[in-house]
Symmetry: C2
Subunit: 421 residues, 2 copies
């Protein structure tokens, strides 16, 4: 048996967070030693590389050299001194890279840093607002489900009603756009801003985007923006934050800081020292209205060569609604028109496009017109992800109302409904 | 009963292709009268609007005004006079907007223009090459299936072997990228270029992109490019054509001329008067090698909030392989890890990203590492569409070989396989 990771580290006079070089016959890595967590093997040392990625190295035949000792970071909770000249905002922690300091998704052995610790560590926020940190849950965003969207919306409503100030939601980037869309439907009127933000690199890295994103989101949370939004890096430079409509955005790059964009929309504004608004937006309302809840049982079908009737049957069986990501202007193959029509007679079926941007137009080609005749609803320039969330949210309505509302702009999610573009 | 469309047009002294204004109590449209086809209702007049879209208007309570009479276009087949100074190329027609003159997907009543007519109409090509036009089929591209990909590849191989010159493939834009990827795998070595092109607006429109695209594709077909490619408008200007790797491209906009791009790659070259190459490419080989055929029975699963075990079961049952479009760096929710792992033990499962661009990296987070341990294969920066086509094509191999080959770059479809980016 190779030496356990703890013993190996101890034997080498090293500690967690020290910068070390670890090598064996074939590999050599330099990075920070991470705390052990319940998922790493007994003899695996977790190292955070300079590029931010974590890697596990076996102690077997390994040699460790300490490059520098860990700096003692003060992670103690220090109560912010309230500055009466500044506005208050709440930062709601839901998890994701922005809430991870040393290792992402750690288990019981090494719990993730709390939202409050995170906020305290972002000293720059102290000059922007008085921060009220509320950890809600600690989830990687791929694990967010419609029930979580509901929990977040209820919590935001409560903060708006009680504290009467804006809310920043720290969220993993993977499904942030789905969650932001979900909040935009559930909170059609908001008395204070609701701003999602996150980070592509964990906040303990010098190159982290977390600090600028949090600062930009906090400034946005003090504005009069009455639309649920996402505030993330505008470019790869660490200088400006773009504000995107929550229901029109997408994580468009797997790892870049400026991963977020609205394929069919401009940013609402750019946060520099202040916010430069780039288009008209809906201002905050008098009261925050909550229309919470989702039916998870909606399917998303990606139209592609090879998709056949049997597939369609499986993909749609037992579902209460279907969103198709069609090709081009909203197409699906001719041989499926009949079966899609049969489904569309039973349950709402909406057509979006799998193209990155642009709008559906089912009037251009025969198949499209046939789909409309069969009751398929056109989603125009609404993103497939947003259409999925919207149909889940519309579940309280009757099928015909859902069909009607899917094609109508409710909270900014469609530009040109019922119009040709 | 409202008047039949034919009678209404006749009564108004109009003819097919005349520019007219047609109005009733609520609507008014101006455009060209299209020939009737078998799908339009008895009393529906089809009008091609100035924006290129077709619309049906009922004769009921309608009024028609002739704005201008149709120009007589010569659609007769005129045999090209072979110019000995020019190279020969073959244009292979498969359908799509590029092969439609007045109405797209017309029925028996009004057959679509032949590829040869199209080519003869593009007078500008006469100065570029001696064109050999071969209609293969006339399909809207959403109807292309893996069997069609095989037919196209066999035909290309035949032309390369017999005629010994480059091939331009006119194809609908919706699934052109899937087809181009399919050809790139089936024809790993080509003795002459294979160039896909199409159009976003039909060639009878003054604003059509068909002519420039065909000219750019023809020039590319005379080069020494040994990779299957797509040649389409570089920008919205009608001046330059970009050449994209066939297995790295996507229709990124529903309607713009510059719809095609390679999310994770630069163009291979830009066609102006001549081709300006922008990166190193594989030159043509001595012989064209054919490795034809696909297993259609591969599934594509889009990871999203709400997706559950039951969904996974349905989506994967009976399939011979699965491509997941995961969130972010290639994630799927934790509660699905076990069932995904069980599937991955049985059949090849590959992980791509649903982000527009970037690469998967399953080493960053625990779930990713767990997926790798369970046998899920990382597809790096290969697009989900390409991964789907590739797995269909790899079907002749044993599951373990498929797993191995999915993560390896075979014909340019992956930039950084087996590497962190």
């Amino acid at each position: 048996m190779p030496t356990s990771a703890e013993k190996f580290i101890q034997d080498n006079g090293a500690e967690v967070h020290d910068k070390v070089r670890i090598e064996n016959k074939t590999l050599a890595y330099e990075g920070l030693i991470l705390p052990k967590h319940k998922f790493s093997g007994e003899h695996i040392i977790m190292i955070k590389l300079d590029n931010g990625y974590n890697i596990g190295v076996s102690t077997e035949n390994a040699k460790m050299t300490i490059l520098s000792k860990a700096k003692q970071t003060d992670h103690k909770l220090t109560k912010n001194n309230k500055n009466d000249k500044l506005n208050d905002i709440t930062i709601l922690g839901t998890g994701g890279t922005i809430a991870s300091f040393v290792d992402y998704k750690t288990g019981a052995v090494s719990p993730a840093i709390t939202t409050e610790q995170l906020v305290n560590s972002v000293k720059s926020l102290e000059d922007i607002a008085n921060i009220n940190a509320v950890p809600l849950f600690s989830l990687a965003s791929e694990d967010m489900n419609p029930t979580h969207w509901e929990d977040i919306a209820r919590k935001v409503k409560e903060i708006h009603d009680d504290k009467k100030h804006g809310v920043v939601i720290g969220h993993g980037t993977d499904t942030m756009a789905y969650s932001a869309a979900a909040l935009s439907f559930q909170l059609p009127e908001i008395a204070h801003p609701v701003v999602f933000t996150g980070s592509q690199r964990s906040p303990d890295r010098p190159s982290s985007d977390a600090h600028l994103n949090l600062a930009g989101a906090t400034k946005t949370a003090m504005s009069d923006l009455g639309e649920v939004c996402i505030a993330m890096h505008e470019t790869t430079n660490d200088q400006t934050v773009a504000i995107w409509r929550g229901n029109r955005s997408r994580k468009s790059h797997t790892s870049k800081r400026d991963a977020f964009t609205s394929p069919n929309d401009k940013p609402l504004g750019i946060v520099k020292e202040n916010i430069e608004w780039k288009q008209k937006y809906k201002p905050t309302s008098k009261k925050t209205t909550l229309k919470a809840g989702f039916d998870e049982n909606i399917g998303l079908v990606w139209s592609h060569p090879g998709l056949n009737e049997e597939d369609w049957g499986k993909l749609t069986s037992g579902k209460n609604g279907i969103v198709i990501a069609g090709t081009g202007l909203g197409h699906i193959k001719s041989e499926l028109l009949d079966i899609v029509g049969k489904t569309a007679a039973d349950i709402p079926v909406a057509m979006t496009s799998q193209c990155f941007s642009g709008t559906t137009n089912l009037n251009v080609y025969r198949n499209g017109r046939e789909l409309i005749e069969k009751g398929v609803v056109e989603a125009y320039d609404m993103l497939p992800e947003t259409a999925l969330v919207k149909m889940m949210w519309l579940s309280k309505h009757k099928p015909n109302e859902i069909r009607e509302l899917m094609g109508e702009n409710i909270v900014g999610e469609i530009s040109n409904s019922r119009k040709m573009s």
